[in-house]
C-alpha cells in the first residue's frame, strides 16, 4: 500500500512538472502583456487594491482608444501580501504568463526583491509606489512616486517652511526599509529647517502592537508634532493609544498613511487633523482628476487614494514610453526593456500625480510635492 502511494505521488509530481513546461512558449503576438504585483490581501491591502483598480481604469481607457501603437493591452495582477518571497513567486507566475512589462510592485520591500529578478531577466519595471532607494537601483527600473529620501526631505521642508511645528518626535519602524529610509533623510534635513527632533523612537516588525512607551516619550519630550513615516496599520494603533493617553499633537505622515480612512472598524474621528505628504488629492478640481475620481467611484464604490492615481499614471507612462520606443506586441520582454529604458528619459507626461513629469536614467521622477489634511473624514488639499 505504501509503495502504491509513493508511486502515485511520483506520477502526480511528474505530471505537474510536465504541465509546467507546456505554458512556457514565447510571446503570443497580438496583445501587449502588462503584469502587476501588489498586496491585494494582508496589512497593506488598501494599496494593492488601489493600484490594481487604478491601473485597470487606465488599461480600459487605452484599450477603448485603440491601445498602444494599435495593440491592445492584456493586464494581469498578482497578490504578494506585502511579502518579498511571495512577490517573487508572483513575478514567476507572471513570467509563466509571458509578461512583457511589469507595473509594480506596490510596496518597497517586495519591490526590492523583484527588482533583482527583473534585472536578471532584463524586464522593464515601473513601480507606481515602491519608494525605497534600491527599488530603482538598476537601469531597467523606474518609479512614479518620490523616493524615500525625497519624501523625508520634502516632509521636513514642508513642516519647516509652513511653520507647522518646531519640536518634532518621530516614531518609525526600524525593521522596514521604507520607514527607516524616510526617517534618516528627515533627520538630516530637519536642522536646516529649524526643526528640533526631541524624540526619535523606533519599533520593529516583531514588536508593533504596543506603542505606549514611544508615545509617552514623545509626550514627555514636549513634541508639538509627531512624524509618522510608517504604514497606516500601525498608525491606527498609535492614534488610538495616543488618544487614550490624552496626547494630541499634530500627526504628520507620508504616503504610507494613505489608506488610514479605509481601515475596517477604525474610528476615523481619531485621524482628524492628520496631515500627509501625497502627490494626489481626490478633491482637486482639474479635469483629469475629476474624471478619474468619477470613473473610480462608479466602478469600485470608493474615493481613490494616491496609489490608485500612481498606478493610473504608471500605465499612461508605460504607454508614452512604449510609443516613443516603438514597442510591438511580438517583441520579447528583453528587447522591450532595452527600447523603453532609453525612451523613459526622453518623455514628459502630464498625469494625476504631477504635471510635466520627467525621469532621470537612475529611475527618479521630477515633480512638485503636495500635502493634504484629513478633515471630516476626507482628504483635503492644503
Amino acid at each position: 500500500m505504501k509503495r502504491f502511494t509513493s508511486l502515485m505521488l511520483a506520477v502526480v509530481l511528474g505530471a505537474t512538472l510536465l504541465a509546467g513546461c507546456g505554458g512556457n512558449s514565447a510571446g503570443s503576438g497580438d496583445t501587449l502583456k502588462i503584469g502587476g504585483i501588489g498586496p491585494v490581501t494582508g496589512g497593506a491591502a488598501v494599496y494593492g487594491n488601489a493600484v490594481k483598480n487604478g491601473a485597470q481604469i487606465a488599461v480600459d481607457e487605452i484599450n477603448a482608444a485603440g491601445g498602444i501603437n494599435g495593440v491592445k493591452i492584456e493586464y494581469k495582477f498578482e497578490d504578494d501580501e506585502h511579502d518579498a518571497e511571495k512577490a517573487v513567486n508572483a513575478y514567476n507566475t507572471l513570467k509563466d504568463w509571458n509578461m512583457q512589462i511589469l507595473m509594480g510592485t506596490v510596496t518597497s520591500a517586495p519591490c526590492v526583491a523583484v527588482t533583482e529578478k527583473t534585472k536578471e531577466d532584463n524586464v522593464f519595471q515601473l513601480t507606481p509606489s515602491g519608494s525605497s532607494v534600491p527599488c530603482t537601483q538598476y537601469d531597467n527600473a523606474f518609479r512614479i512616486c518620490f523616493s524615500d529620501p525625497n519624501q523625508g526631505i520634502a516632509s521636513a521642508q514642508y513642516i519647516g517652511q509652513n511653520n507647522v511645528a518646531s519640536k518634532v518626535a518621530v516614531i518609525y519602524d526600524s525593521s522596514d526599509v521604507y520607514s527607516s529610509g524616510i526617517y534618516e533623510k528627515f533627520a538630516a534635513e530637519a536642522p536646516n529647517q529649524g526643526i528640533e527632533i526631541v524624540a526619535a523612537e523606533a519599533f520593529t516588525a516583531d514588536n508593533k502592537t504596543d506603542f505606549t512607551t514611544q508615545i509617552q516619550k514623545a509626550k514627555d519630550a514636549g513634541a508639538e508634532l509627531v512624524f509618522l513615516p510608517i504604514y497606516y496599520q500601525e498608525a491606527t494603533l498609535i492614534l488610538s493609544q495616543a488618544n487614550t493617553m490624552g496626547f494630541a499633537p499634530i500627526f504628520f505622515g507620508c504616503d504610507g498613511l494613505d489608506g488610514i480612512l479605509g481601515v475596517e472598524n477604525f474610528d476615523t474621528s481619531l485621524a482628524e487633523g492628520v496631515m500627509l505628504l501625497t502627490p494626489f488629492a481626490a478633491d482637486a478640481k482639474d479635469d483629469l482628476t475629476a474624471k478619474f475620481v468619477k470613473t473610480y467611484q462608479e466602478k469600485y464604490g470608493e474615493v481613490p487614494n494616491q496609489f490608485a492615481a500612481d498606478a493610473y499614471d504608471a500605465i499612461y507612462v508605460i504607454k508614452a514610453a512604449a510609443e516613443k520606443a516603438g514597442v510591438k506586441a511580438d517583441m520579447d520582454a528583453s528587447a522591450i526593456c532595452e527600447a523603453m529604458k532609453t525612451a523613459m528619459t526622453q518623455i514628459s507626461v502630464d498625469g494625476l500625480t504631477g504635471a510635466g513629469m520627467t525621469w532621470t536614467s537612475d529611475g527618479e521622477v521630477n515633480k512638485a510635492p503636495k500635502a493634504v489634511v484629513i478633515k471630516d473624514g476626507v482628504y483635503v488639499a492644503l
Binding site: G43, T204, L237, G246
Partner: protein
C-alpha cells in the same frame, strides 16, 4: 510619573505573558514537551471572540466563554491527534510536530480569515483611570489583565494543591511511570493539562487583543515566543515561575524601551534571559530534579 506609566504598561504586558507562559509551563511540566502551537491557540481564541462579537453580535462575555470552549476543545484535539501518537517517540519528534501544528493553525486562519489585520473591539468596558491631571493613565484593559492574571494564578495553585486531579498532575509531572503504577490515569491527566492550558490561552488571547487591538493569523506567534522565554526565565515547569518570569519580562521590555533604546528592547530582554540562565540554569524559580536512569 512617566516611570510609573512605563512600569504599569510593563506590568500589563507582563501579565499577558504570564498567562501564556502558564500554558507552556504546565504542558512542559506534565507532558515534558514544548507546545509551540500554544501561541497560535491564542490567535484562534482571539478570532473566536472576533467572530462572535463582530459578525454574530454576541455579548462580549458570552463571546469570551465560547472562545474558551473553542480553545479547550482545540487543545484536546491537538493533543489527541498530533501528540498522543508520539508519546513514546523522541522529544525532538514531538517538538517538530508542535511546530507543524503551529504552522497548520496559522495557515488555516489565513485561509479562513485572510491575512488582513482586523481591528479588534475591546471586550472590556471599564473606563480608564486618569490620575495627576492626566499624567498617569491606567486603562481598563490594564486593570482587568493584571487582576485576571492574579486570579488565574491563585485558582490554578489551589486546583493543583487541593483537588485530586491536581494532585494527579503533580504526580505525573514527577514520575509518569510511578504515577501510572499508583493508579493515576496518565492519558486523561495529560488531556486535562492541555484543556486547561488551552482555556488559559483563550483568556490570554482576549486580553492581548483587547489591550493591543489588532488581530491577524500571526498575532499569537511573537507573544507566544516571548511567553516561552518568560516560562524558561521563571523556571519552566514552575507555576509561580511563569508568573514571575512573565511580569519581569514585560517590565524589563518596557523599561528598556523607555530608558535605553526602543529599538534594542528585544535584544536586551534576551540578553537578560541569557545572563539569568548562565547564573541559574533552571530559571529563577525552577527546581533541580535529578534524572533517574
Amino acid at each position: 510619573m512617566s516611570f510609573l506609566n512605563y512600569f504599569i504598561n510593563g506590568l500589563s504586558l507582563g501579565s499577558v505573558y504570564a498567562i501564556i507562559a502558564l500554558g507552556y509551563t504546565m504542558v512542559y511540566g506534565i507532558a515534558k514537551m514544548l507546545n509551540f502551537a500554544h501561541g497560535d491557540v491564542i490567535m484562534i481564541g482571539g478570532f473566536a471572540v472576533y467572530v462572535c462579537t463582530s459578525s454574530l453580535g454576541m455579548h462580549p462575555l458570552i463571546a469570551v466563554l465560547i472562545s474558551i470552549v473553542v480553545c479547550t476543545v482545540l487543545g484536546i484535539t491537538i493533543e489527541k491527534v498530533a501528540y498522543k501518537p508520539l508519546r513514546k517517540a523522541s522529544p525532538l519528534a514531538v517538538l517538530i510536530t508542535a511546530i507543524g501544528v503551529s504552522y497548520f493553525l496559522q495557515n488555516l486562519a489565513l485561509i479562513i480569515f485572510k491575512s488582513d489585520t482586523k481591528l479588534f473591539t475591546s471586550v472590556i468596558s471599564i473606563p480608564l483611570i486618569s490620575l495627576a491631571d492626566g499624567k498617569l493613565v491606567i486603562t481598563g484593559e490594564t486593570i482587568v489583565t493584571i487582576i485576571a492574571c492574579l486570579i488565574i494564578m491563585v485558582i490554578l495553585t489551589l486546583f493543583i494543591k487541593k483537588t485530586k486531579a491536581g494532585q494527579a498532575m503533580l504526580a505525573v509531572s514527577e514520575d509518569k511511570e510511578a504515577a501510572e503504577l499508583m493508579g493515576v490515569n496518565v492519558n486523561r491527566t495529560i488531556s486535562l493539562t492541555f484543556a486547561i492550558g488551552s482555556g488559559l490561552a483563550a483568556i490570554a488571547g482576549v486580553l492581548l487583543c483587547s489591550a493591543y487591538p489588532t488581530l491577524n493569523p500571526y498575532t499569537g506567534s511573537m507573544p507566544g515566543i516571548k511567553a516561552f522565554v518568560a516560562a524558561v526565565f521563571g523556571g519552566i515547569g514552575s507555576i509561580p515561575g511563569a508568573l514571575v518570569g512573565g511580569l519581569l519580562l514585560g517590565i524589563i521590555e518596557n523599561l528598556s524601551k523607555a530608558y535605553i533604546s526602543s529599538q534594542m528592547a528585544d535584544a536586551i530582554v534576551f540578553s537578560v534571559l541569557i545572563i539569568v540562565l548562565l547564573v541559574k540554569p533552571t530559571g529563577l524559580m525552577g527546581k533541580k530534579m535529578s534524572e533517574k536512569v
